[in-house]
């Protein structure tokens, strides 16, 4: 179970949250002007990243707010969480620790 740092409430266990898919995919402002292909891309095309992934979470069983997170899909470590509407911060990559250090 992940520990997720809600930007409004702080660190909480994963079971209070619902994953909301890839972040920063805005609904087109004028859907009528989209081609079928553009609309299909908006609906269905998502990245499948090995590494740092921007994704949405909702603190459903807490404050109820949506927010965004950067998570490394290879290690499940969160690099940052941030509010809706904010740009993703560019954090220093989390360094894996030597087992012996």
């Amino acid at each position: 179970m992940l520990l997720i740092n809600c930007p409004y409430c702080g660190e909480r266990p994963e079971l209070e949250f619902v994953h909301g898919g890839q972040a920063h995919i805005a609904r087109p402002g004028s859907p009528a002007e989209c081609s079928d292909q553009q609309w299909a891309d908006y609906l269905y095309r998502r990245d499948n990243i090995k590494g740092v992934h921007a994704e949405r979470w909702r603190h459903t069983h807490g404050c109820g707010r949506f927010f965004n997170a950067l998570r490394d899909t290879t290690s499940d470590q969160f690099l940052a969480t941030y509010k809706i509407g904010e740009q993703p911060p560019v954090p220093a990559q989390a360094q894996p620790r030597k087992a012996t250090a």
């Binding site: 859907p31 989209c34 909702r58 949506f66 620790r97």
Partner: protein, 1000 residues
């Protein structure tokens, strides 16, 4: 008890307390402090099981959790039988009853052993290759036979009568392992101010030191062990958990611990839980999980009486048990000589020490030579003999190239001890997604970097000497406390290690070229030999993950704790690649098997799932209602009178609604209050309907799509005020609709001033439906004019009923004149009872969800999720009229404009009438064009709802049919097991198509 196998003194057993137990019905005795394995060995019992595939006789191989052979069933009573326990971990208690497994009729005479005679014909992948044809025979013939012949213990047949507990805990530092490294780490962390949890799977702390005759000498500090354990037990910041296995390492430093509370007790308190599962979230983790001795691979290495050298030493020093009367040691490292020296001191003759290395000159080998033990260097093992117990071992000298050349020499013995060095236990570290690095000198993978806040100490990172491990643990504990945010004193640093701090070999011992080696076991539990692995490599398998699945090596319940590295080395050598390039299979939780009861914890019976009941639940239960589960809700399905069938009850309830009046509990309906100055804009953007024109006090049937254009939910929406909507959803959709609303509101339209509140459980909903509904309510309702002119169909009015504030909806899901009374939930049952009393002169009848379904189907009202399936557009469902055509946008609008969404060949909702009026179609049945169609054929649709309608005196069905609306009057067919049934396509509205009844 044979006095010669128990040493006269020593060990950590309580010789003052004899413990009686049985093994396969035989009465035996041991001492308090014994494990089942040590007590059996003390009685001279080595044969404890039969192997999985070949049914070969097997003995105790190890003294710990890595045991692959000695799996037993422990029986407490008729229902408390636990299979597949490792005898090396089972603590002896008075009256313990153990049974061997996987043998018939008895351990010594096992009919299945014929598999062993056939073993040349059971190569790797045998099951895949042989039993492929015919396919049907696999299920009926081969699989049951194979499962009967080759298998582990039998699963219990009764519900588990014991209880299991669980607990969540947080700490600064979690230390896994109570050996020298773990004890030192826990002590150092606690002394630095950290809150510490220390867990160990054994009943006592000490780890490898428990197997030392003199732990003080091993530590180079006589008093340290006792002092440290006592200090930890008394420490206010330290929680010590013994008999507790850390079985899993989950993301963000969450570890699962299984604590066994009663399995070691002769008379457990039935009120006490059997196990407690801990979920520990640790700021920092120190893994001090030790190392596991590696067996050697040589022909006939699996006979009873052949065990790991360290295990024999453990039985001697910890339990005071001599594992045999004449021992031979086979080794590749100096460390194992300790075992021969200890046995020699205890009086067991050591017939030979076979060392594969050409020269041996260490301190321990020299001590062995001085003691007069015959040391054969540059020698390999080419075979063993003995049916139920090893009788002799055959050895052969190696030449300068490491090839067996000399004459075969046979040495009589009843105990063969082997040591291939140690494999650090990196299971938990690897589960943390830590990277492992190959160490050539140790022939082992050692922990490298971890993304988790974890560090390793002691033998699990290749530091094998107790004194060095203790120092390593102290360093790790101090650093863990520091990284957990505590102020720590001086850091002592890592221990300095000499160049030869360990030695090991992996793979197979040298064998004569040209002759196939047989019965050289790599994986004892799954009966995988070196020959199987070589065959897999020759057949072209290259990835160790594939070889594992093909040969099943490492796939047994021990997860290859003793076998993985040898298997890897054999494969690497065969395909000519270095070991790290062949790779390592994945370590998965659990480290050792965990009971299902432990995971279930309290979530059993009534506590398995939450139950949601409505305010009217108790009344319905009192009236004998039969309930059905709808999500977590309990809903009254029908109200049978004594002796009445479901069919009869539903018919009676439906007729009452059509003729008089019915009373229905609609409280589970999802309800969301949408409030704010932008509420109407929000509703316009979200739902397909136009909301601007909806006057205050009126309702509209709303449809919600996803942005892909398909129906997501529906429900009546009432405008309570200019800036306030009372939105209803389906019972199952309440949470997801609110989540979808919040998603759009928070992330797409944060500029809108709107608040969303779930009010599902705030309102009790009492539906009063039928021609007499108005008369029933007239005497109860205050402040609302119930006339059709003042309160027409699809309107809402605030008011009071029985003095209770209410929102009164004039709506109908039955097609009759209908009202839905919404009152605060606390008043639900009182108002319901008042309505019921007032309705009795009018024949009011409570009805359940089953009648509700029939009534709505007669009217062609869809149920989202039953008549729709996530590919249905509003037009497909015949609801195109609801689309607010002039709206520039709403969720789903763009997708509806795709050409495919307008194809006349889409599946559309229609009614179906069977030619035989009393035949009720199966829901989900396919619809085909041709009367003679037989599978395989292409259906053009399927039945979504189907009931017998008492009102119409015949069956009715709703269906989604390709191009359905253009097929009105056509005859189609529904295949059934009894043949294709003819059905006529009709409108989905079977009853009162003009709607005059609901407008009354």
């Amino acid at each position: 008890m044979s006095p010669t196998l128990r040493t006269p003194s020593g060990g950590r057993i309580n010789r003052a307390r004899t413990v009686r137990f049985t093994f396969d019905g035989r009465e035996l005795r041991g001492f308090e402090g014994d494990t089942l394995a040590s007590a059996l060995l003390a009685n001279g019992v080595h044969l404890v099981g039969r192997s999985f595939k070949y049914h070969r006789p097997r003995g105790v191989l190890t003294a710990g959790p890595e045991e692959p052979n000695a799996l037993v069933a422990i029986r407490r009573d008729a229902v408390r039988v636990t299979p597949n326990l490792r005898a090396t971990e089972v603590e002896l208690y008075e009256g313990l009853t153990a049974h061997s497994q996987n043998r018939w009729p008895s351990l010594k005479l096992d009919v299945g052993a014929v598999n062993g005679l056939l073993s040349p014909f059971i190569p790797a992948g045998f099951y895949y290759k042989t039993f492929m044809w015919p396919r049907r025979a696999w299920k009926r013939l081969y699989e049951p036979r194979i499962r009967a012949a080759a298998g582990l213990g039998r699963a219990p047949e009764h519900p588990d009568p014991d209880s299991y507990s669980n607990r969540f805990a947080h700490c600064d530092v979690l230390v896994v392992g109570g050996g020298p490294a773990g004890l030192a780490a826990a002590h150092a962390a606690a002394e630095s101010g950290a809150r510490v949890i220390l867990c160990d799977e054994q009943p006592q702390l000490g780890g490898s030191l428990l197997c030392e005759q003199d732990p003080g000498a091993a530590l180079e500090d006589g008093a340290w062990l006792a002092r440290t354990i006592a200090g930890l037990m008394a420490h206010p910041r330290v929680t010590v958990l013994t008999r507790t296995t850390a079985f899993g390492y989950f993301p963000h430093n969450l570890l699962g611990l299984e604590q066994r509370l009663t399995d070691h007790l002769a008379q457990p308190d039935p009120a006490q839980p059997r196990e407690r599962q801990w979920q520990v979230r640790a700021r920092e983790v120190v893994l001090a999980t030790g190392a596991i001795e590696r067996p050697l691979v040589f022909p006939g290495n699996d006979r009873p009486g052949i065990m790991l050298a360290g295990a024999a030493r453990s039985y001697l020093n910890r339990y005071g048990v001599l594992a045999g009367r004449r021992a031979v040691l086979v080794t590749v490292s100096d460390e194992a000589y300790r075992c021969a020296l200890d046995l020699h001191r205890a009086g067991t003759p050591v017939a030979a020490i076979i060392d594969v290395r050409p020269q041996v000159a260490g301190e321990l080998p020299e001590a062995a030579r001085r003691a007069g033990l015959p040391v054969h260097t540059g020698t390999t093992v080419v075979g063993t003999a003995g049916r139920l117990r090893v009788k002799s071992i055959r050895i052969r000298k190696l030449d300068a190239h490491g090839e067996p050349r000399g004459a075969v020499e046979r040495i009589a013995c009843d105990l063969v001890l082997m040591s291939g060095g140690h494999t650090p236990s990196a299971h938990l570290f690897s589960q943390s997604r830590g990277k492992l690095h190959w160490n050539e000198a140790l022939q082992a993978f050692l922990p490298g970097e971890s993304p988790e806040r974890a560090r390793c100490a002691g033998a699990c990172r290749g530091i094998f000497s107790a004194a060095a491990a203790r120092r390593d643990g102290e360093n790790a504990g101090t650093l863990a406390a520091r990284d957990a945010g505590l102020v720590v004193g001086a850091v002592i640093g890592e221990p300095a290690l000499g160049p030869a701090h360990g030695a090991a070999a992996s793979g197979e011992l040298p064998q004569p070229a040209g002759r196939p080696v047989s019965k050289a076991f790599v994986d004892w539990q799954n009966d995988v030999t070196s020959r199987d692995l070589l065959l897999a490599a020759r057949e072209g398998f290259r990835s160790i993950e594939h070889i594992k699945r093909y040969t099943t090596t490492g796939m047994a319940t021990d997860q290859g704790k003793t076998s993985n590295l040898n298997a890897l080395a054999i494969v690497a050598r065969q395909i000519g690649k270095p070991i790290p390039e062949v790779g390592l299979t994945t370590f998965r939780m659990p480290y050792t098997p965990v009971t299902f009861g432990g995971f279930a914890g309290y979530s059993r019976g009534e506590l398995f799932d939450p139950v949601r009941t409505t305010p009217i639940h108790d009344w319905a239960a009192g009236k004998g209602a039969v309930f059905e589960d709808v999500g977590l809700w309990k809903r009254a399905r029908y109200f049978p009178r004594p002796g009445e069938s479901m069919h009869a009850a539903v018919t009676r309830e439906c007729q009452a609604v059509r003729a008089h009046c019915g009373l229905f509990d609609g409280s589970t309906l999802g309800k969301i209050e949408v409030v704010g100055k932008d509420a109407v804009t929000f509703m316009n953007r979200l739902y397909i309907n136009g909301w601007t024109s909806l006057a205050v006090g009126r309702c509209r049937y709303g449809i919600l799509l996803r942005d892909d254009g398909f129906i997501y939910d529906d429900g009546v929406v009432a405008r309570i005020a200019e800036d306030r909507f009372h939105v209803t959803t389906t019972t199952g959709g309440a949470a997801r609709v609110l989540a979808m609303m919040e998603d759009y509101l928070q992330t797409e339209w944060p500029d809108l001033s709107v608040w969303l509140t779930s009010t599902t459980e705030q309102w009790a909903v009492i539906a009063v439906q039928g021609p007499s509904a108005r008369q029933v309510l007239e005497g109860l309702v205050q402040d609302v004019d119930l006339s059709a002119a003042a309160l027409p169909h699809m309107s809402v009015a605030p008011g009071r009923i029985c003095g209770v504030p209410m929102r009164l909806f004039r709506v109908s899901f039955t097609g009759e004149l209908g009202f839905e009374i919404n009152v605060p939930a606390d008043f639900g049952q009182a108002v319901w009872e008042a309505v019921y009393e007032a309705g009795r002169p009018h024949g009011i009848t409570p009805y359940g969800t089953e009648a509700m379904h029939v009534l709505r189907a007669e009217k062609g009202y869809i149920i989202v999720g039953q008549d729709t399936d996530g590919t249905v557009t509003p037009d497909d469902a015949g609801l195109a009229w609801a689309v607010g055509a002039r709206k520039p946008d709403f969720v789903g609008k763009r997708a509806l404009e795709r050409p495919a969404m307008h194809s006349p060949q889409r599946k559309q909702l229609v009614g179906l009438l069977t030619a035989e009026p009393h035949v009720v179609l199966e829901e989900g049945a396919q619809v085909v064009l041709d009367a003679r169609a037989a599978p395989p054929t292409r259906p053009i649709g399927h039945v979504t709802s189907s009931y017998y309608s008492a009102t119409l005196g015949r069956s009715i069905a709703l269906a989604l049919v390709r191009g359905g609306r253009a097929r009105m009057g056509q005859t189609l067919y529904v295949p059934t097991p009894r043949g294709n049934l003819a059905v006529q396509v009709t409108s989905p509205i079977f009853y009162d198509p003009k709607g005059s009844r609901q407008n009354a």
